[in-house]
Symmetry: C2
Subunit: 296 residues, 2 copies
């Protein structure tokens, strides 16, 4: 079948592009090191036409883009849509960046302490996940999208009601690189991860619980090489214990959507709290979401 | 009155030394950039004799040292004493580093998730504070020693029962230097500090609450220059809300002991929780503690 759409998930560090056929199935896929943080002002449009379209043989196709490309450091600003919002709300608010090129708006809701909370890109994956699973378009569902800035998203009857962002991935990175807990060891020790989850308690007093990552090594109870795994368990454990409460959700089930390896770690932590965790592929959801927003 | 004791608070980054008279009053004081993190193995003894003693005219005086100089990267290891412990317990366990030079042991107690918690240096300030305030040697008291690694210490009838370390100062430093929240602005905006304290809630879900520091700026509600103050309030607010609970203390009063400027920030956050905060000078307490441990 001929290509009908050029679909792009264009984030801070990377651009992933697919050509899709008339049923939304992938024909070709390419990655580009063109994340918006690497682009000068005005560069996005030029490189999209000069590099992305030719590489996928997509010169004349309509294009739809989601992610940070719609932010004020991207191609053009696609204004946020306020929650609650569903597929039709976002499909009706696409921003035209150039002829044949539309950008998905981000989502905004009331956040902590009167500040807004925002997302750009995850909303497309969530809408795609709903498109992939018609049975989830009714009732209440809790989705977690782990990452540098994890998103916990409450869905009711197919619309995103509200969400909370947690900087867990960024905390893990800065503590692992720059603090007393820094280490070059991989975070691949499941037993230490589980110890970290247990040490997270109810997700309170994190600054104190973090010190246990140091104390267990100084006290001779653990090898220093297990610190990244323990730290990962502690931070993810604190997030899964406390963030759903903050969101006002008391789930019996969490749908994890995103990077499969990271989702597996979250599922491990969530399952220890007695909550069921299901894992869904973020890339497939992004493609489904871009197609659904295009097909409207 | 003639000098009777050379008293030193010898920490990770700095060495502060005093000569004290026969009543424990300061005769002279000098600082040295000889923190243990800057010393090669074996260097402490040599530089103490070659620089510290001559600078204070203290060639023949008995010396007592507290702090990280008693750790395994210091002069010689002064083994930890387990809690509960009071002045007599520590005074009876001084470690002889060289002729006329004794080191105060650190304190250890059971910490989070089976790991030990430890301190080196703060115990001397706390025992000194008790020596300065005879009326505090009975009953139950909660002391907070803010810093890179803040210590919350529960005292009963003059003995340190247990304590918890919180890495709040380190979190503030690594987030302010290396994360999305990095900023060169000073943390001197009281209104933003108070907003941060309010956003800390009960000290749960810190990774989510931290995102509000970004969102309030992106959302146009605050200037980026207020981020360090907000972050300081958020982290200290989360600590003062949750760590006393973790320690099993529900105080009506907290004694803050340490750097006066930092204690003032903590007092501001604590007072918003309805708890009374008193501030005591950490340096005076360290001197009183070293003298009390010497005088036994």
């Amino acid at each position: 079948m001929a290509a009908e759409l050029l679909a792009c998930d264009w984030g801070t560090t990377n651009l992933r592009a697919w050509t899709l056929d008339g049923e939304g199935a992938v024909i070709a896929q390419r990655d580009f090191p063109l994340g918006v943080s690497r682009l000068a002002s005005g560069e996005a449009a030029r490189r999209f036409e000069a590099e992305v379209r030719p590489a996928l043989g997509a010169h004349a196709l309509p294009a739809i883009l989601c992610g940070m490309i719609g932010s004020n450091i991207g191609w053009t600003t696609a204004a946020y849509v306020d929650c609650p919002a569903g597929l039709a709300d976002l499909a009706g608010r696409l921003t035209v960046a150039a002829e044949g090129v539309r950008i998905v708006p981000g989502l905004r809701c009331d956040g902590i302490a009167g500040a807004p909370d925002v997302m750009r890109g995850e909303e497309t994956q969530i809408l795609g996940w709903l498109a992939q699973h018609p049975e989830r378009r009714t009732g209440r569902h809790l989705v977690c999208h782990p990452g540098t800035h994890a998103k916990w998203v409450l869905i009711e009857d197919g619309r995103i009601i509200r969400f909370v962002t947690a900087m867990t991935g960024e905390l893990f990175a800065v503590l692992g690189e720059h603090s007393l807990l820094k280490s070059d060891a991989p975070a691949d020790d499941d037993a230490a991860f589980d110890e970290g989850v247990a040490a997270a308690g109810a997700g309170d007093a994190l600054a104190a619980r973090l010190f246990s990552a140091r104390a267990r090594v100084v006290g001779g109870q653990a090898e220093a090489a297990s610190t990244p795994s323990y730290l990962s368990g502690l931070l993810i454990g604190a997030e899964v214990a406390a963030v759903p409460v903050l969101l006002g959700a008391a789930p019996s089930q969490v749908a994890l959507l995103g990077d499969p390896a990271l989702c597996t770690r979250y599922a491990r932590a969530i399952s220890r709290t007695g909550v069921e965790a299901e894992i869904f592929d973020g890339e497939a959801a992004a493609i489904a979401g871009l197609w659904a927003l295009y097909a409207g």
